[in-house]
Symmetry: C2
Subunit: 304 residues, 2 copies
């Protein structure tokens, strides 16, 4: 079976490592994942973590081409792949950094992220999702929303990333819900669509009041017995609503597609629908795979 | 020496316990403090924590009157002192909860906090600072700002708290600076007045953009080598600026006094001064002491 592997794509972020083992005709033979994210590894931990995940699938001899995206290419990653400044195409496989390895079966390149100088901003990993989206939507112009720990709003035109803006929404949700005084009020799971919609409305109406909207959740928990699931959905609505209010110059009157994991993409889709905007949703996993595939094709073309 | 103690005031919050041992003529004989905050203690931990701090100063026989304010009166405190709804005077010693104790030398009452039903909000401890401020500023009408973990803006008129609003500014500063991705960018101390002013200006101009202003600090750290002290001051400016933008209906065109610890009170004073407002600053410690003293007088008067 290992002989069937043509190349391996790696989505290696702060908290996770995901591998897609791809066969000759381009289909995914195996998808593997571990919790060996960049934040958990020291400088000497990357190669062992990679081998622990994919080692059993490697051929006994010869090397397998691997292409990675994400924080693995940052200054705290395995090897730094310097940012490419926008405006530019989201993908340039020729700019990938070659990683020195000990195991001769590994042949690894890391795709660079994108940077913007004014206002300063950076992304790592999302550029590969954007490239994948454009590979499956040739000629598409508009706005991409990539929700997550650090949500990105991206203007795409003529195959290039023109500008982008990052919001710490997902990280704020985790910190505020899990570690602030609101942890006594906000449940760790569960949902309530009405409470989400209320949070959205409050935040969109008065987005500058975030810090007081947040404490009001705590007070409502104490004084009114606010349900933990409702509090969680309302917190999400407040934070996504504040993001939509600030990102309005991006999405208002534009064609928008959301690239992300199902749950969070669905929340953003609902939020935009409430603003009268019907956004396309593409699974983040599919976009990453398409982007890594595009990079593999570029590299194969250069070798040919 | 212990015979000189007339009463003891306790400021017992989430993270600290402070005691003021007061002599007959009203002067403070000793100020003591420990890290035995409410959040660190279980239900049976309060009396031992109190005795550990003040035990050496207690007389061998007889009991000493003690008056406490703060989270010690919450549902996770020693004994719950139910909220008093606004509008009301900040202090009503008759509503204090009597705490059952084992050591006969202790005679402890906990002052209640204040609640507001619409919008829902609560305070515990700040009401005693407000009472102390009014005791030293009789007839004062205006807006009190009590910056801190959960900053309060309070409208005071005719000796009553009319309304108030809480912002999670201090808690957000600690969480975002210490635990988010910005911990790589933001120093744990240090200051830069110019960076603070920039953060204020950015937040007051576009307060709804907080989540993206925050990530911009990270990007500026990566791309421009933003100094950690400057990043810390700028983060503070962004959060205080967002609070001032949202609290503008409170302070605009009003008489404002700030009650708080020196460093944070000074930051708010600077921020309000940049908006053309000259606020009086009163040390939070002095306000608490004056409030506990007023409560002690009320209780003594009722006994007399």
């Amino acid at each position: 079976m290992s002989g069937d592997i043509a190349w391996i794509g790696l989505d290696w972020g702060t908290t996770h490592l995901r591998a897609m083992l791809v066969g000759k005709p381009g289909e995914v033979l195996h998808e593997l994942a571990s919790a060996d994210g960049v934040a958990t590894l020291g400088p000497d931990g990357f190669e062992p973590a990679l081998l622990a995940l994919i080692g059993p699938y490697l051929p006994p001899s010869g090397s397998v081409t691997m292409i990675a995206c994400g924080m693995v290419g940052s200054s705290i990653g395995w090897r730094e792949a310097p940012y490419r400044p926008v405006p530019c195409a989201p993908l340039d496989a020729a700019a990938a950094a070659t990683v020195p390895v000990n195991d001769p079966r590994l042949s690894l390149k890391i795709l660079p992220g994108l940077s913007q100088s004014n206002p300063p901003d950076v992304m790592r990993g999302e550029e590969t999702q954007i490239a994948g989206f454009l590979a499956t939507h040739p000629g598409w112009d508009g706005i991409l929303c990539l929700p997550g720990t650090h949500s990105k709003w991206v203007e795409v035109s003529a195959g290039e990333v023109v500008s982008f803006q990052t919001f710490m929404t997902g990280e704020l949700f985790a910190l505020i819900g899990g570690q602030s005084v609101l942890r006594h009020t906000v449940a760790t799971d569960g949902w309530d669509e009405a409470a989400f919609a209320e949070g959205l409305d409050d935040a969109l109406a008065r987005p500058e009041r975030l810090a007081t909207h947040l404490f009001r959740l705590r007070a409502a928990g104490i004084l009114e017995g606010l349900d933990g699931h409702a509090a969680r959905a309302r917190l999400s609505g407040l934070l996504i609503g504040a993001e939509l209010a600030a990102a309005k110059p991006y999405w208002l009157g534009r064609q928008v597609a959301i690239l992300g994991a199902e749950t969070v993409a669905s929340a953003y889709h609902t939020a935009l629908a409430a603003q009268g905007l019907a956004a396309e949703v593409v699974a983040g996993r599919d976009a990453v795979f398409a982007g890594l595939t595009a990079a593999a094709s570029e590299l194969a073309g250069r070798r040919a």
